[in-house]
Symmetry: C2
C-alpha cells in the first residue's frame, strides 16, 4: 500500500449511470470533509463514461481516456450499466468494455470486498451472529477473461464456449495478498473457496498455490470449502469466515450473497486494487446503477462512502479512513425506518467526520 | 415421464459411502411400504460402488457395471465420496468417475431440485415467507464437461483452463422441460439465471433459447436474473421464485443455497432425469456422504426419502409419491428438538404410508 506521502491526491471520478452520480457525489463530499484538516487533499477530475455516454457518443472507454485515467493516484467509481431489459444498449457492453476493461487494464488483481454486519443493521438471517470477514476476489483471470466463442451461432446446432484461464502467476499474487490480510487480522483464518472436485485443473492450481504459500504464514489457519458449501455456511454460520480467497466468478457470487446477509448491497463497499502500484486502484460500491430509482435521491450512498474509506486506507490515510468508517457505523446504528435522501445521509456522515 | 404400466420396477440401488447406505436403507423401506398394496413393486439390485469400493478394488465405475445399470428402470443413489482432506483418494475422483459419469452417460439432462420450506421447519432466514420453487439445473454440459487442462503444470508458469461447453441442443431440451414444469404449476413463472453480461457467448445462447421457446408457453411469465443477484433474492425474497432454469455450475451453487434457506441439505431431494427415457433416471439426496457421522444412525434420511418420492413421480406413481410427501411433511412438522435415529425416522414415515 502507498504511503501517506503525497499531499495532493489526483483522483479520477467516474460517476457513471443511474444512481452512480448521486452516490459518488456523497462519497466525494465525505472525502473532502474528512481531509479538511489533514495533510491530504483531493484534486478531482471527472470522467463522463457509462451507458449514457455511450448512447451519446458511441464510446465505451477510448484509449486516450484510459491513458489519462492511468495518470491518477486513484479512481472513485460510481456504477454503470443500463436498465435490465434495455434494448438500446447491447447486453453487458458497458460492464465489459468499461468496468471490466478498467479492472483488467489497470491490473486490479485484488478485488477486495469486506462484509461486516454493523450494529443496528437488520440482516435477513434470524441469527446472523458476528459477521466480519473480507473476500479477496481475484480480479484479472478466471471465467472473466472474455475467452469464449460460438459456432453455428443462432442455429439449432450452436455451440458456445467460455474458457476460464488461471495462471500460477495470477493466483499466487492474490493468494499471497489474502494470506497477508489474514495474518494482519485477529482471527488469522483463510478459507479458499473453489470447486476442485469438478473444476479439476483450475482447482488443483489454486490448492497447490495455497499449500505453497501457507508455510510463509505459519500463524494463519487454512480452510477449504467448495463454493456450493460456502453458500450454505454464509447463511447458516457466516461468523466462521475471516478471509475468503477465491476466483473471479465465485467471488462475484459470494460477495453478493455476503452483502445480502450483512444488510444489503446498499452497504457493500469494494476496492479493485493493484497491489503492485503499477496503475491506480479503483474503489466502487458493489451495487449497480439501479436506473429505476435514479435521480430521485433515494439511493443509499453508504456503500460509495465506505468505498471511499477503502480508498483512504489504500493511500495510507488510515486515521481518516477509520473516521469515515466510525461515522458510517454510528450513522447506520441510528437509522430509523424513516427514509432519508441520498444527500441527507452524505451530509450527516460528512458532518460527523469534519 | 413413464406410465405406471409395469408392475415390477427393476431398481438399481447404489448406497455408496458414509451415510449413504444408512439413508438409502430408509428410502427403500419407505418405497416398499408405500407400494405394499399398489400395482407397483420393486425388484432391487444393489451395486457396491464408491470411495470404499475404490479403495478395495481400484474400480470407480467399470463399463460392465455401467451397462448393467442401464438395464434398470430407475436408480436410487445414496451418497459417495471420501472425507474432505482424505489423502488416500485423489480429490474428486469418485465424484467425477462415478457420480458425474452416471449423470453424463445416462444423459441426465434435467437435474431437478425442489426447494420447499415445510411447515414446522426452521429456516435460517428471519422472514422466509412461503418458499416453494424448483430448480431445473442442466446436468450434462457447462463447466462440468471435464474439458480442462494445464500447461507447465506444477511450475510458477502454470496455466490451467476450464472450458464450459454449451449447445443449443442441450440448452433447448432443458429449457423446454423447465417451461413445461412452470406451465404445470399454479404460479407459472420461469426465471432464467445466468451471467450473460460477462459469460457473453454461453449467456447469449441461453437467452436466445429461452426467448425462442417462450411463445410455446404463453401462460408462463419469464424473468431473468444474474447469478449474483439470484443469491441475494434467495436470502431476501425466496418466495419470488417458482421455477428456476440454469446451467450446471450455477445450479449446483444455487441449490445448496436454496437447501440452506429451506432448512438444510438434510431435507433436499433431487432427481437426475433423462426425460427422453433412453436411460434410467437417478434419484439422490443433495447432501454428501458426511463421513464424520457415518455408521452412527445420526443422519437424517428425509432427503433420501423425498428423492424416492421424486422417483415414484417419475415412474408415474403419483398417488404413492404424494403419500410419501405428505408423510414426510407431517413427520417434519412434528419434530421436536429431540434427535431420532436414522432408522426411527424411516420407520415413522414408512408406518405413515403403509
Ligand atoms: C457488473 C458486473 C460485470 C460485475 C461483475 O460481475 O464483476 C458486478 O457484478 C460486480 O460484482 O462488480
Ligand atoms: C459431488 C459433486 C460433484 C456434486 C455436483 O457438483 O454436482 C454435488 O455438489 C451435487 O450438487 O450433486
Amino acid at each position: 500500500m502507498s504511503e501517506a506521502a503525497s499531499k495532493v491526491i489526483s483522483l479520477a471520478v467516474i460517476p457513471g449511470d443511474g444512481i452512480g452520480p448521486e452516490v459518488t457525489a456523497e462519497a466525494v463530499k465525505v472525502l473532502t470533509a474528512v481531509t479538511k484538516d489533514s495533510p491530504a487533499s483531493f484534486d478531482l477530475t471527472e470522467y463522463s463514461l457509462g451507458a449514457e455516454h455511450w448512447l451519446q457518443t458511441g464510446e465505451t472507454l477510448p484509449e486516450e481516456t484510459l491513458a489519462a485515467i492511468k495518470g491518477h493516484d486513484a479512481i472513485l467509481f460510481g456504477a454503470v450499466g443500463a436498465a435490465p431489459g434495455d434494448t438500446a444498449i447491447p447486453s453487458g457492453l458497458i460492464e465489459r468494455e468499461l468496468l471490466l476493461k478498467l479492472r483488467f487494464n489497470l491490473d486490479h488483481f485484488v478485488n477486495l470486498r469486506p462484509s461486516k454486519l454493523f450494529p443496528g443493521v437488520a440482516s435477513p438471517l434470524a441469527n446472523p451472529g458476528d459477521i466480519d470477514f473480507i473476500v479477496v476476489r481475484e480480479g484479472t483471470e478466471g471465467p472473466y477473461v472474455g475467452n469464449g466463442g460460438s459456432l453455428r451461432t443462432g442455429t439449432a446446432h450452436e455451440i458456445a464456449t467460455e474458457v476460464s484461464l488461471n495462471t500460477a502467476y495470477g493466483v499466487e499474487r492474490v493468494v499471497r495478498d489474502a494470506f497477508r490480510r489474514a495474518n494482519d487480522r485477529p482471527r488469522k483464518k483463510l478459507t479458499l473457496v473453489h470447486k476442485h472436485n469438478v473444476l479439476v485443473y483450475a482447482g488443483k492450481l489454486w490448492k497447490r498455490i495455497v499449500d505453497e504459500v501457507a508455510p510463509e504464514f505459519p500463524n494463519v489457519a487454512v480452510d477449504y470449502l467448495h463454493v456450493d458449501a460456502a453458500t450454505i455456511f454464509l447463511t447458516t454460520d457466516p461468523s466462521r469466515f475471516d478471509v475468503i480467497v477465491t476466483d473471479n466468478l465465485f467471488g462475484d457470487i459470494l460477495t453478493d450473497l455476503a452483502a445480502a446477509v450483512t444488510g444489503g448491497i446498499g452497504l457493500a463497499a469494494s476496492g479493485n486494487i493493484n497491489m503492485e502500484g503499477t496503475f491506480p486502484s479503483m474503489f466502487e460500491p458493489v451495487h449497480g446503477s439501479a436506473p429505476d430509482i435514479a435521480g430521485q435521491q433515494k439511493a443509499d450512498p453508504t456503500a460509495a462512502i465506505l468505498s471511499a474509506a477503502l480508498l483512504l486506507h489504500h493511500l495510507g490515510f488510515h486515521a481518516e479512513a477509520e473516521r469515515v468508517e466510525q461515522a458510517v457505523e454510528a450513522d447506520v446504528a441510528g437509522r430509523s425506518g424513516q427514509a432519508r435522501k441520498t444527500a441527507e445521509i452524505g451530509d450527516a456522515i460528512a458532518a460527523a467526520v469534519s
